[in-house]
Symmetry: C2
Subunit: 419 residues, 2 copies
């Protein structure tokens, strides 16, 4: 690109379909994503595909800030859709890119983003084969939005879906929770006290290919992005009509992430990840699949976090660290937390965020405050309580995970509630 | 959807991945686009495709206003991508939809848009199989942006591309120019003096299927959207390394559109269309293909507007209505208009918009003001001049088109320059 003033910033003409738009395409985008299908610059790409099943997915990336520790909107937009296609049990091959750029956006930033996209596409082994660029007037968009759609091929015999979880399945999480969401959040709020938060943005397609090739009978693959592990598990429980029980002490969280979550009042179960997956596999194959996942650079801290049960279809339970006689119910979006006695004789519900303080009867069961551990909202700070008294929560890998942790160094978490 | 206050407007929670987002999907989007692949609500859609070639295209729709005579952003987003896939010579089958919604956007408007998308998808015979919804804070987007990506199957033997134009091809335009662009523009500027402008938004895939089935050897299919007919022809000329000559008197324009273009200083050659296509076919097959196109409700006013020549590869010429010895050069984006004597001995160039008034020597040819017709910029009003004197321009269908016009009623244009 020339260095004249006109090219310092994106102007409306860059989206006009005219000469400036043409130059943006031929000078910046074509060289970055060079491949024969894209080079044709037709209305769409023509691609050769083996017959059979394909996966098709889309996502729009609206992240703020655009650049953050561990990545940018550029690699996020590639990795995110690569992962969504991979979660269908497919080998991602082709991507489309649709950008909405705000007038005045610095050309240098656009180039950085495109370079990141180029690098991510290369790492994932996918081709950007068609695209579109729109420029909107200043103020009509927040800097840059990127939509990507992706196509992949599903090989014969593969049948993974959020509807396929079965009682007896082990629930595997490929690594630590909430890294991406908390990195973005602290950057957005200008919090600088944490310097070691890094997004986990990563392409998971090669890991998935190895998992599918392992011969393990994988029932479900999902990446817990927006809404986090808690929301994704709820979706799976609902679609598969099964219950899912996870164990709080097994949930992998980096100490820095856990600390910031606690400080800001976020539950890491409901914070976004961008380079993690959940896999459901019959329990007797779980260790074998774990070994495969841990061979990937993005799966070193993988562990079994729970199991599928045949009770309570559509619900997710979390067995807390504290030795008590029940589980939390993890609801979608973390809007409601309920504590259920193992016997299901009593259930205590609270609205942790902004709701009225009090105990409610839910689902027709009689309420019981009793000595159930409780989670209270102090402004934006959540702390764990037991019988009305704040307690220390020492969250760490279970015995099972500790056994493997020595060689693979999974993230241990020691989360202490504030007194 | 419930009618409580919470549901009147889109809030950030609708994009959170939590309960509100889930409800938006299950209550509004799933019923609208109901099909088995979408109903799975997995990370992507799993689809069965016959082996062979596919077409893949994407576009983001950022139109303002969202609702306009003849359509809305909803049917535009479906038709636009359906058409882009069809222009690859493909049968469009599956679409993805990615929406970016501004916080506070009225739920009623979103429902209107979704209903329009539903109707357009049904008319085109395509399925929305995967999607994504993001909500951004108030002010971070202008109401609603919609990205769609589309997949279609290219049948054996079909080989159309913007790079395939050949000397001797006839250039067919399927109907009147600039309807969509001028409709949007007048609405955006609040101009109400024209009441009969209507967008031409339409799905062209069934027309294209009939064209491909006709046995005509179609070389190029393109829809002249952003940038208009002039820009699209330039892209084809450049990619095919051919010259293209069009005839001003044959260009179909509705009188109301021509009038508004003249009043506001727009050249209809460079204004967007959303339901038109350009087809290149060997001249001896052109009448046969025209007959097929005119059978479509969206192709009644189709006509031959020009031909491919083997001189001057990469350039588009327009033979003006006035009987003079040369042609306009139509440049991409209408940034520059030049007049070329037939002998190529002289070439006169002007910058019609905002450029310095004067005559320049271009491409090393000697300048000649002579009696060439000239186009002058009076603020935002273009008028046609000949030898320094304003002239009446009576633009109408050529004899060839007039012959067919009686039965098909193509749009005639009587454009008079202001004195």
């Amino acid at each position: 690109m020339q260095n004249d003033t006109q090219d310092d910033k994106i102007i409306l003409d860059h989206g006009s379909g005219g000469k400036m738009a043409h130059r943006l395409t031929t000078d910046l985008l074509l060289p970055a994503f060079h491949n024969p299908a894209l080079a044709m610059l037709d209305d769409g790409a023509r691609l050769d595909l083996a017959g059979g099943r394909i996966a098709f997915s889309t996502d729009t990336y609206v992240v703020d800030p655009l650049f953050f520790p561990g990545g940018s909107i550029g690699d996020l937009a590639i990795n995110g859709t690569v992962n969504d296609v991979a979660m269908c049990g497919a080998v991602p091959l082709y991507l489309s890119v649709g950008m909405v750029i705000e007038e005045g956006f610095p050309m240098a930033d656009l180039k950085r983003v495109v370079v990141d996209m180029q690098g991510a596409a290369k790492t994932a082994g996918v081709q950007v084969v068609t695209g579109d660029t729109k420029v909107v007037p200043r103020g009509a968009a927040d800097k840059l939005f990127i939509n990507t759609a992706g196509i992949g091929v599903i090989h014969a015999g593969v049948n993974v879906s959020g509807a396929n979880a079965r009682p007896g399945d082990a629930v595997i999480l490929s690594g630590s929770m909430a890294d991406h969401g908390m990195t973005i959040l602290t950057r957005r709020q200008g919090l600088t006290f944490e310097t070691d938060l890094t997004s986990d943005s990563a392409p998971l397609n090669h890991m998935v290919a190895d998992m599918l090739a392992s011969g393990c009978e994988i029932h479900v693959l999902r990446d817990p992005t927006r809404g986090g592990v808690g929301t994704t598990l709820n979706e799976i429980a609902e679609k598969s009509r099964v219950g899912i029980r996870i164990h709080e002490r097994r949930l992998p969280i980096k100490p820095a992430v856990a600390g910031v979550c606690e400080l800001l009042g976020f539950d890491p179960l409901y914070v976004a990840n961008e380079g993690k997956l959940l896999a459901f596999v019959p329990a007797d194959q779980a260790e074998r699949l774990l070994a495969v996942i841990r061979q990937s650079p993005y799966g070193r801290a993988a562990c079994i976090i729970g199991e599928v049960i045949d009770d309570h279809p559509g619900r997710v339970f979390m067995k807390p660290v504290l030795a008590v006689s029940g589980s939390w119910i993890c609801s979608p979006g973390s809007n409601c937390l309920e504590y259920v006695e193992e016997s299901m004789q009593s259930k205590v519900a609270r609205q942790p965020y902004g709701g009225p303080v009090g105990i409610a009867v839910v689902h027709g069961l009689s309420a019981s405050a009793g000595s159930s551990p409780d989670r209270k909202d102090h402004g934006h700070h959540l702390s764990y309580h037991c019988g009305g008294r704040p307690v220390d929560v020492d969250r760490c890998a279970s015995g099972e995970d500790r056994r493997t942790s020595e060689s693979h160094q999974p993230q241990h978490v020691h989360l202490r509630s504030r007194q």
